[in-house]
Symmetry: C2
Subunit: 313 residues, 2 copies
């Protein structure tokens, strides 16, 4: 971290990159870091570049810069495990490259790396960086809002494993800077009418089996509600946590195959996912069907899994 601070001090132009399809943590880390640098060193030129994401654009606006800007500049890439996910690829034009990330490292791009998977968000890493060097660094409300947004989005509002005493300590520090938690929550909670209508479809059309609940997302549903495949797939959480239904799934039709997002709050499901051409974690896996005719057998296999689980419990 001291070496990263030294590099920041050394360069006059610093360009901050994130990953493709950026999320709240990516934006939070990018704009939080920009705020720390510009507040602490007002003469430096700092740019944030990359793809935009509408739902977090209240955090800040991306800069548009020419290739020339990279001459003699420092590139800092945040929240991105692998180099081909970096947005945009001109990060490589920088004179030196720093990687700051909390994901399991997949490739070791960058001349200098700070990778720590114990952090539940990259924004927490940037906040910690500020905290550690707070005697010589500054952070204003704008940056605090960005960092707080990153922390809450990547932890599901302080819910996921990995949230530690340090997470709360640093969130408290940001609140002390004036962060308006209700404002940020309101911004993050904005939804489109299409997504609300799609929720209606999910809640009204899910199917229940023995301990298993699932929702089918066929092509005509996705088209009717005018949502992306990703938005459709994101609905899997809606049917989780129903009392008496420890396993749930969202089944989405793609051209040529049917993909299943499988979730559990009880039995281990990754072995079954393996059987159906997929895999993943004990409580969150993905797998496939070749066609809808295979669905009854899949449901039956899940029911059997739940039955065994209940007998053993």
């Amino acid at each position: 971290m001291q070496r990263i601070l030294n590099k920041i001090k050394q360069y006059d132009t610093i360009i901050i990159h994130g990953h493709k399809r950026p999320d709240g943590d990516c934006y939070g880390a990018q704009f939080g870091l920009k705020n720390i640098i510009t507040s602490s060193f007002p003469t430096k030129k700092v740019y944030v570049v990359g793809e935009t994401s509408e739902f977090v654009d209240f955090i800040g606006k991306m800069d548009v810069i020419t290739d020339d800007t990279y001459q003699g500049a420092l590139s800092i890439v945040v929240d991105t495990a692998v180099s081909d996910r970096i947005s945009d690829p001109r990060y490589a034009l920088g004179q030196e490259i720093i990687k700051i990330d909390h994901h399991i490292p997949i490739d070791n791009y960058g001349d200098l790396r700070w990778v720590d998977t114990t952090f539940p968000s990259c924004a927490q890493m940037i906040t910690y960086f500020y905290y550690k060097f707070r005697k010589e660094l500054k952070l204003t409300l704008e940056g605090a809002n960005a960092l707080y947004t990153g922390i809450v989005t990547d932890t599901g509002r302080f819910r996921f494993r990995g949230v530690s005493k340090l997470t709360h300590q640093l969130a408290g520090l940001l609140i002390e800077k004036g962060v308006d938690v209700e404002y940020i929550d309101g911004e993050l909670s904005q939804e489109s009418l299409e997504m609300i209508a799609l929720k209606g479809y999910v809640y009204s059309n899910f199917v229940t089996a023995d301990g298993f609940v699932y929702i089918k997302m066929t092509r005509d549903v996705i088209e009717k509600y005018n949502v992306t495949d990703e938005q459709a797939a994101s609905m899997v959480g809606l049917i989780g946590g129903i009392a008496g239904y420890p396993v749930w799934a969202l089944i989405i039709e793609y051209p040529g195959e049917i993909r299943i997002r499988l979730r559990s709050s009880g039995p281990t499901i990754d072995k079954l996912a393996n059987k159906y051409g997929g895999g993943g974690h004990a409580k969150a896996s993905g797998c496939k069907l070749n066609n809808w005719e295979e669905l009854p057998q899949f449901v039956s296999d899940i029911e059997q899994l739940i039955k065994v689980y209940k007998e053993e419990a």
Copy 2:
């Protein structure tokens, strides 16, 4: 606080009460305090009494005690602003009564009171009590889970105004005691199939006007989905925060009148609520209609309010 600790030390039997229809914060404060006292002073007899609440019963089970138990005992009432809301009323049988609460005080029951409205939850007060006297008090994981549950339920997972640096600092302390945030979240997220189905009704049947979205809860809907009036009314949040719709309402039919839960993220709505026999806050009000025939005029008034608001903005 020192006087409360002295009283706790003085009594051999301590009975902890909360309020009627207890919520997560009430349970959290009750069982958290019980855990602190029994862990710190193992010879004392400590009981938690009052109404039960199914959705938080993972925190602990209420004790059933006879009237005799109150002889020479200390009653501590948490999270309850007014004496006739205390569950159960035998708290008055105690030799002395202590009130610990974070609501605006409505009556001043109790021989000794610690009331502080700057705390966003009563569980945070109990956690702070432990923290302040941590050199002589103990707290185990069971109590930490209870207190953490109280903090997250009363702050909507650290979202509401009133959440401060201290809130996060104390939450961090509880996590350090081993609190499993995912387990607690899983317990709090359990929903019944009826409530899920009712969500489906809301998301599939809301009505949009100019900037205004509302859902009608008629008697036949409430009966069809087999939910309580309160459960039906709680759905108002589902249609909030939709982009382009700054005002939303849940309209619920009661025998003889129609009540409206009105919410806004933009214009001030309490004046309009006054006009319709109600009132409340600038962004959250309640009002009434005499019959469904009055609904079109109400919708028209709301649309006008939004139009003026947008022109002024």
